[in-house]
Symmetry: C2
Subunit: 486 residues, 2 copies
Amino acid sequence: MSLTIKLQLVSHLNINHNNNHANKLIKIKNNTFGNTLNFLPKPTFGNNSLTVTKKSNNKVKRRMQGNFMIKSSLIEPDGGVLVDLMVPENERESKVLEAKSLPNVKLTKVDYEWVHVIGEGWASPLKGLMRENEYLQSLHFNSLRLNDGSFVNMSLPIVLSIDDETKERIGSSSNVGLIGPDGDIVGILRSIEIYKHNEEERIARTWGTTAPGLPYVEEVIAPAGNWLIGGDLEVLKPIKYNDGLDNYRLSPKQLREEFDRRKADAVFAFQLRNPVHNGHALLMNDTRQRLLDMGYKNPILLLHPLGGFTKVDDVPLDVRMEQHSKVLEDGVLDPETTIVSIFPSPMHYAGPTEVQWHAKARINAGANFYIVGRDPAGMGHPTEKRDLYDPDHGKKVLSMAPGLEKLNILPFRVAAYDTKVNKMAFFDPSRAKDFLFISGTKMRSYAKSGENPPDGFMCPSGWKVLVNYYESLQTGEASQQPVLSS
Amino acid sequence: MSLTIKLQLVSHLNINHNNNHANKLIKIKNNTFGNTLNFLPKPTFGNNSLTVTKKSNNKVKRRMQGNFMIKSSLIEPDGGVLVDLMVPENERESKVLEAKSLPNVKLTKVDYEWVHVIGEGWASPLKGLMRENEYLQSLHFNSLRLNDGSFVNMSLPIVLSIDDETKERIGSSSNVGLIGPDGDIVGILRSIEIYKHNEEERIARTWGTTAPGLPYVEEVIAPAGNWLIGGDLEVLKPIKYNDGLDNYRLSPKQLREEFDRRKADAVFAFQLRNPVHNGHALLMNDTRQRLLDMGYKNPILLLHPLGGFTKVDDVPLDVRMEQHSKVLEDGVLDPETTIVSIFPSPMHYAGPTEVQWHAKARINAGANFYIVGRDPAGMGHPTEKRDLYDPDHGKKVLSMAPGLEKLNILPFRVAAYDTKVNKMAFFDPSRAKDFLFISGTKMRSYAKSGENPPDGFMCPSGWKVLVNYYESLQTGEASQQPVLSS
């Protein structure tokens, strides 16, 4: 069987219209299914050629904007309406002028990521940085109560801190302007509320530890001010990072449009912050098969790498994106039923608390199935020789969490390298000795040393991306360059 | 107006039937209302003469047990049915024999208090020590989801820890016997589940800090084992402390019977672990008046001192109970509309997390109004010079908490000593300089030094109880006796 898929460039608001590679198609071998696919010769990071096509986009736009809007069959966003805080283009100029007249708050890189997250509605129904009422509910209950008495999940406090000097400068102003890391006006925060930032309590309740060395705490909370400022957000400028990956940053609205365009009757999300190996691919393909067996006709995979702040020893976003593109080029995943996009949230490494956020945000993007693995969003304890979280708590807590009832949680089946058939396979405890577990640490040590993992662990072109990255890192280390996380 | 109230002894299961003082009545002056009350000459701690009368008890029993049961108008217990885990008397002997044949777990004093709490249904619908499923929901969401999808509040993990040796001894047994601090069989835990006790995470998520010096952590968690054991509880022996106060320990069922007997159409609970001063009394009387103004005909006050573990510098339970009885004798509170009883829970000092437990347990006892003050269940930070919790968070969190929607939260109005009229009065910010704030610390320092507080701060006989206590303490300290908390 030979499938011909034409992957072209979408004309979404945030996506570059001019790209030379967009219509060049070549035939490549789909290693997993034995199909020959027409595919881009090289995924171009300036365009998200892996996800969306131009062809039907106008139709989608008509459907969403016209009088004859068709109701999507996708899962409802939390609160019923997808939040979109981008100010219409014709109002921006005057609001930027207004913002310039207001006391301002300078955003850090991570603050900017949160403005991105909230502005596009990943945290729907949240419409701004949290006021104390929302902060306390998030901290104590991992959920927000809506006016109708129902709950939506909200496990991470999404807050903005300010220092004493900024608080004084704001004085009695009701609104403040938000300044991006590049110095431009990004937005306005209205009807603000300033309240105390008890860092110790926030850390303890979010991470379940106050041990020194938590990456998000060191990056964001330790240097933060004594106050939190909440309010309604208006975004005045499209959020860009100018890192060549902006076109992969599809908003929940854009993803929903694309799922609708593809007539998805199920969307299953796979959150990751690591390279994709063939065990992951096996799991994703198996999940699709299970959904087909359940009677779904067209389940679509949202392969959704996290793009915000990550700890320094994680593989950076650009390298991961290149690796993911190789996996799709190699046909390990089927591009026809896969969308690769970047989830703009920063990473907390807060285990069972954070995995709820990862799942909840994907509801807003239209996913009704969520794949959860061992120790999601976990890490080693920063000061003790053990996992920070019980590796099973993530999936247990996810299955209990208020506000996630409508999401189907799919626990990860354990995949390992089967030495009998030389490929990744689901672990069979009856012949445990045949299986080789290759941890993330082990994988990195292979790549660092230039040693190849066993055949069939990862597609060779994807592996090459990692090897190159670690080589460049060693060169960089030799020349005393600090390693920056994405 | 002169009211004649006959306070007699109730014949509840746990209440001493033989008391010489029970029917002796004298007339005393009701200082607050100017009424003359017939009252007991001296509240006797062997009987809870302050709360219940014999007269109507048989009728209540008939109502509750007979075919013609009358539906109570009191608030429903959480989960709809009040849990009662006391095994019927005729089954106890055989179950005690069974318990003796099982692997056993020895309870600490605080474990025993929790068995009391669960066994009587204060934690309804919880039917035993928490299994991991309940523990995780409590820790992460401060609530438990019921089968119908609704939530009940459950903010504190109610768990039993065991050490490695006990876990090994239990082996594969499904049930264990529970041994009280005095060596007697207390109950059976059935269909047990043993899971890891991550003390750091439990402490951080419950207290919002891991600083050393938290009283409950030092008393209970630090010496605890590596495992938690959950299961369904059967109580085989009435829980007694033999401290002369057992008859004040009314179960939620007994309290509900008494509220019904008094035809309460509103029950307002006042949790405390401190002596009652006239500011408290003002607040309680004012609350009753507000409830009458709202249209309730017979609001009853549940004055409900906490009787379990408290920190070493709190006033011990027996002293507090004696002090409370003086307050009622003096007529500062109206015995006709007040029930004094002991809440058997141990104290966590976990602020906004714990206040939910305090409120939730009172729902189960029939209270539909809950008075909440500044910094409920709070304390000073153990290692920093500040309150551990924001003093306003308790009432805020209480008003947001899942599962407490049906409870009416009544925020404490601030009372202080009004030097213009020489009594406790609600603070009037327009003449702030006339008011004197007497903190708990200040009150204790008065009592310790033998100095009298301003007239009208506390009824003189109640004050005398405190002075005597601190005098005895100093004598004790002089003879090197350690001070034990109740």
